[in-house]
Symmetry: C2
């Protein structure tokens, strides 16, 4: 639909394209043809309809088409001192549905992504166990497997936004997240195999380490380890990619991504937590009074509008507009998402593409008739624990401005009359 249509009458919900793309028999006209005459894309035979395309032997493993070359992970140069211990971001502004392809799923490494062959892989379970064991990759393949779709969110996602609107794009404000179908062995089975001491479970811990130089050690309560953690070797059906922990990573559903240890090398059963660097000086939240919150593992319910957004402006003029975004909760399933067009004064219930699933991304849609009015777009998630995603103001009241991690506040995009969106704050 061309720009002229912006000033036209409001179309009914049943007639999305009235006056824009009428194609009469023998007088075919495409969207913007009123001024420019018949559309050659309709009236003339195109090269792709007269010649041959590409054969099936050309690309044994395919990549996105070149026209989608901007839908890639991106890093932010000033965010970290170098790109080895750094992060890049999922292009969620350009995705739809819920699955994140591995190829564009965000990466976070502490000493770079390593290359570790399956035959060189070893996983040790030791500590408070009857039988300290070392598993090869082939050993892991012999245990019963499960499949689950889970989101993985970095605790630092949205972390730059505490002090105000910093990054102008949902890829950068909310793109430290991905959502994949994992296949792996329940960690519980491996702990049982080693004869882990499961007496007084509430006071038992595991300490997990990766095979990379950072080792990225984290303590996990035994109750979580036994509940739903997976020792995973596939994501979205195929082997984990190098940057996602090939050949084996830990999956800790709903909990901060730093605990999903990649290139998983060792699990020690303990009766105390280690209080490692990654759970003391990092991945904790310093409150206004200078005291830090301890053990903030679960990612609270959160949502964001992915389109329109600064990287995904409205490009089609007035009339029907699909507002869409993602919602998730580390404490359970999303039950509802509300969307506001006016910065939180009025809310409408969005349509969920599917009922929310435990610790997985939920896609929401709100179909509106946009007449060029300015919008302050917000979304607000609710989960089955009864939790409601807070405003930035509410979050700051409790948490102050010293935090980096665990920012799950409501995001605002200002959309102007031209459909251009911008990261802003409302108060």
């Amino acid at each position: 639909m061309d720009q002229d249509d912006k000033k036209g009458p409001a179309p009914s919900r049943r007639q999305f394209l009235t006056g824009a793309a009428a194609a009469g028999a023998g007088a075919v006209a495409a969207s913007s043809s009123a001024a420019s005459g018949p559309d050659p894309l309709i009236t003339e035979v195109q090269d792709w309809a007269s010649g041959l395309g590409h054969g099936v032997d050309e690309v044994p493993y395919g990549l996105p088409i070149e026209f989608e070359g901007d839908v890639v992970r991106r890093n932010v140069a000033w965010l970290t001192a170098d790109t080895i211990s750094s992060i890049n971001f999922t292009p969620i502004h350009a995705l739809d549905g819920t699955i994140t392809p591995q190829g564009c799923a965000f990466e976070r490494h502490h000493s770079g992504a390593i290359e570790l062959r399956k035959q060189d892989y070893r996983l040790m379970i030791n500590g408070l166990v009857e039988r300290p064991l070392v598993f090869t990759y082939a050993d892991l393949e012999r245990f019963p497997r499960e499949n689950h779709v889970y989101f993985c969110e970095c605790a630092a996602n949205t972390g730059m936004e505490w002090a105000g609107a910093q990054l102008n794009g949902v890829q950068f404000t909310h793109g430290m997240i991905h959502n994949m179908e994992y296949t792996g062995v329940p960690l519980r089975l491996l702990l049982e195999e080693a004869g882990a001491d499961l007496s007084d479970v509430a006071n038992k811990w595991i300490f997990v380490e990766g095979a990379d130089a950072s080792s990225n050690g984290r303590s996990i309560p035994m109750e979580k380890a036994l509940d739903d953690c997976l020792v995973a070797f596939k994501a979205n059906g195929e082997a984990l990619r190098k940057e996602h922990g090939y050949p084996v990573r830990l999956v800790v559903p709903g909990w901060e991504g730093n605990m999903w240890v990649k290139w998983l090398r060792r699990i020690e059963v303990m009766d105390v937590p280690v209080e490692s660097r990654e759970e003391t000086s990092k991945y904790t939240d310093t409150l206004a009074d200078g005291i830090s919150r301890k053990w903030t593992w679960a990612m609270d319910a959160k949502s964001v509008v992915t389109s329109p957004s600064p990287q995904a402006p409205i490009s089609h003029g007035h009339g029907p507009l699909v507002i869409t975004g993602l919602a998730w909760s580390g404490r359970g399933a999303i039950t509802a998402v509300d969307v506001s067009l006016d910065g939180g004064k009025n809310w409408q219930t969005a349509r969920l593409a599917k009922p929310g699933e435990k610790m997985a991304l939920t896609r929401f849609y709100l179909d509106i008739d946009w007449r060029g009015e300015e919008m302050f777009l917000q979304s607000r998630a609710r989960d089955d624990s009864g939790y409601v995603q807070p405003s930035k103001e509410q979050l700051r009241e409790v948490r102050g401005l010293n935090s980096i991690y665990h920012n799950n506040c409501i995001q605002t995009w200002y959309v102007n009359a031209e459909g251009v969106a911008e990261n802003v704050e409302v108060s």
Copy 2:
């Protein structure tokens, strides 16, 4: 676990690794260490644990790690006269879970995969409509969207097996299938937008064409078009790949892949089917008496063991073994999968990774204790219509030996004492 373990005592279900991978404190030993001494992969610091890995700026769009270089689509040179009008196969022997990554999802083209920019994309709806319309890509983005995971199976999948066991690998016998999360607009909404004549729906049809040179025209009953067909632009969250119909393909849930027209260009509303080449001389099944079955759209319930299989032998010796595979039905949801180890004499109920979903792949597992006995491995799917997947014998009784398409019979893998698997027939 090393080969010596093959003759050891049967491990209990709770002790998968007895005698193989004991790692005592201070005396760590890996799987095969009994004969060869301490495992340097455990006792020595490895390069990947002392050096730096790859940074986050290296690969904006990632590919599988080089060690997985054999997990790719493959074509079979003798199957078609050239690779432009041909097929390649999903490496299902090496996948797990249910999602198929686009990069290794099978391709089938009739005149090659074309490259068509979004801005050059047009979709015409004409014929028995009040308002013939041409939609641009941007127009389609304005309609309400849905997300669904569906399998797409070529009617010719397993087609070489009618006469006997032909292809030694599940990638080639059953790999003309993929399963993705599609995002798109319900076709019903576009037909309504054009004011399609919906009187006497049972006798209305649409004829759908692609923008490639083959055009691949197919007739689809209006009832199906209105029910669950999607005009899709995303698969697994991101844009369709070139080979999967970028920018827009039709999704016809449960029905043969040939109807899922790629590079969708035109939809004509009609009161008769066209009876095109693709639905008369092709994609029909000639029975024993020389008469061909007409309108065989839905893919009947089917399943196959993906591992162990000829391309995925048992490599780890005796003891616990995970048998896994896929099941699906074009008529609804899978309710159960039975597995036989003895060529169909005895059946065990497999564990479904999740309850079956309508017209989507279902992953099944059977965890057994394998002591080196020869197996004739089979799986048998049941769906919620009450249908039970037939044996090859049963299918031949009804269909004869003249068919190419719609072979959904039970597949048999013979597994020898060494764990090597082979495509065979049992009678």
